[in-house]
């Protein structure tokens, strides 16, 4: 579903990602771990085409991201949860969801149907549809941001630290939903600092340190890895 091959990026003269390669197969859940400033969000921005790679290739559903451009990714079957949610604050919840639904251009889907599905997944959304997205609590915004990524019924969901700032109770609720998405057969790339939670629901993981993939492997292996234990556990 997603293939990154030897991707390098830089901010001006400062190199950031160096030869980052990772892949997420059809229906697979993979996590990308790393400490603050490691380049996780930079990777996210490269995947969604907002930050052009200096070299290397990124393909989503077989299409080159650079050629497709950020505007076409939703219709290739990708949903995004950017860092900090980034809902449109003065747009209503419904308008936020509608934009994402239209972007997916998924034929045969009906907006009201999908909205009902999202309301079933996130019980609090329904009563908030007419409310400005910016007026909701952080937890509610996190749920709407996930609903926005899912409403077009994507095949791949890419999330950048989606649980950041949530209370422990909400975090566990949130990851239960993420696990459900995985069980539905969607591919997921979960970018997280919280290694333990991420590795407990992902099949595989990568560890990014200072712009480079330091370790990768199956979740059970990574949970026992000394570097990861040293960094996180």
């Amino acid at each position: 579903m997603l293939e990154m091959e030897r991707v390098c990026t830089s901010y001006g003269p400062v190199p950031m990602l160096r030869d980052v390669s990772l892949r997420v197969g059809e229906g697979e859940m993979v996590c990308l771990l790393g400490p603050n400033g490691a380049g996780k969000s930079t990777t996210f921005n490269a995947i969604c085409g907002l930050l052009p790679a200096d070299s290397g290739t990124i393909r989503i559903a077989g299409r080159d991201v650079k050629e497709a451009g950020p505007e076409r990714l939703a219709s290739l079957g990708v949903g995004f949860v950017p860092e900090g949610r980034r809902l449109f604050p003065t747009l209503t919840v419904r308008e936020n969801l509608r934009l994402a639904f239209d972007a997916a251009r998924n034929p045969g889907l009906d907006f009201e149907d999908r909205l009902a599905k999202m309301s079933a997944l996130f019980p609090r959304i329904e009563e908030r549809l007419g409310q400005g997205a910016g007026t909701m609590s952080g937890g509610e915004q996190a749920m709407v941001a996930l609903a926005r990524a899912l409403i077009g019924d994507p095949r791949l969901v890419v999330m950048d630290e989606p649980s950041l700032g949530l209370s422990p109770r909400l975090i566990s609720e949130y990851f239960q939903i993420v696990a459900r998405i995985r069980d539905e057969g969607k591919a997921v790339l979960l970018i997280e600092q919280n290694a333990e939670t991420a590795l407990s629901i992902a099949e595989r993981g990568y560890l990014l340190i200072r712009g480079q993939i330091a370790i990768s492997g199956a979740s059970e292996t990574l949970l026992k890895d000394d570097t990861i234990r040293h960094l996180y556990l």
Binding site: G69, R72, A74, P82, D102, A103
Partner: protein
């Protein structure tokens, strides 16, 4: 009510309406593109020249349209033409400064304003001279002692309808929702399959077409048009948008009414006040900015970043 007071109130609403049509464009363009489009006044002021040319063309084809009808047709033509001019300028010039520091875009639009003025002056027959501009309507309605020009009613009604249409467009149509999405978060909007350049074109069309109406009303009110009227109109519209809070549509209206109020008071109370109305307007701008740098209804700048 005192007839003189009523007359002043009516004039205030007329001026406020005209300024609003210009200020809305400044505010909309800033809100969506993060650019202060300093040539907006000059772009708008090209409208009366297009309208004059259109009136002559209509007359030349011997279409049996005269007076208000011909003028309204000419205004529609100039709205479309100026809307397209705005799109063209964005595409030719302003697009090149999307990633540049705000100061660069500002300098570019200031320069663009000069180019537009000089082009009008050179290309329009006897472009340096003031041109009489026909009144949109000359009839008056008498209510007791109060004389209500039909022109005033047209200006106020058209402005109110334009504002309602603009709000309805922004808040209740798919394209309006996309315009607001781009204004709020350009990068995420792209992930929602919205192409910012298209939204910018639509925004430029709307702002410039609305500005065109404002400029035509302005010169029809004055009875005369000159190639450099866009400077003054632009400064007033920009000041109104700044006072109200750049990016806020309600702010643009409020700022315009405030500036029109100052404008009226100065002309009534200060001897020869008309010659330094801009001084008082800028004093008001400075006063508001000292008290609230983001304007009365503007969001603090950090929220936008």
């Amino acid at each position: 009510m005192d007839a003189l007071l009523a007359q002043h109130l009516l004039n205030w609403l007329v001026l406020g309406s005209i300024y609003t049509l210009i200020a809305l464009g400044f505010s909309l363009l800033f809100g969506v593109l993060d650019v202060i489009h300093f040539s907006h006044g000059d772009v708008s002021m090209a409208a009366p020249f297009v309208a004059l040319a259109a009136i002559q063309a209509v007359a030349a084809w011997a279409v049996p349209l005269t007076g208000t009808g011909a003028l309204l047709l000419a205004i529609l033509i100039s709205m479309a033409a100026i809307g397209l001019l705005g799109v063209l300028l964005d595409w030719l010039v302003i697009r090149r400064f999307r990633a540049a520091p705000a100061m660069m875009a500002l300098v570019a639009t200031v320069a663009l304003g000069t180019v537009i003025r000089e082009l009008i002056r050179t290309l329009y027959p006897q472009g340096s001279n003031p041109k009489p501009f026909p009144a949109i309507a000359t009839d008056v309605i008498r209510l007791g002692d109060i004389v209500v020009p039909v022109f005033s009613l047209i200006v106020i009604a058209v402005s109110v309808l334009t504002v309602i249409a603009l709000f309805a467009l922004l808040n209740h149509t798919p394209v309006g929702v996309r315009i607001r999405a781009v204004a709020e978060d350009r990068a995420v909007a792209r992930l929602m399959a919205i192409r910012p350049n298209r939204i910018f074109a639509v925004t430029f069309f709307i702002a410039s077409a609305v500005g065109a109406v404002g400029a035509v009303f302005f010169v029809s009110h004055a009875g005369v048009v000159r190639f450099d009227y866009g400077v003054q109109l632009g400064l007033i519209g920009f000041s109104a948008a700044v006072i109200g809070g750049l990016g806020s549509m309600q702010g643009a209206i409020l700022g315009s009414l405030l500036i029109a109020g100052i404008d009226m008071l100065v002309q009534i109370a200060v001897p020869d006040g008309a010659s330094y109305r801009l001084v008082f307007i800028f004093l008001l701008v400075i006063g508001v900015l000292v008290l609230k740098p983001s304007g009365i209804l503007g969001k603090p700048v950090f929220e936008k970043v």
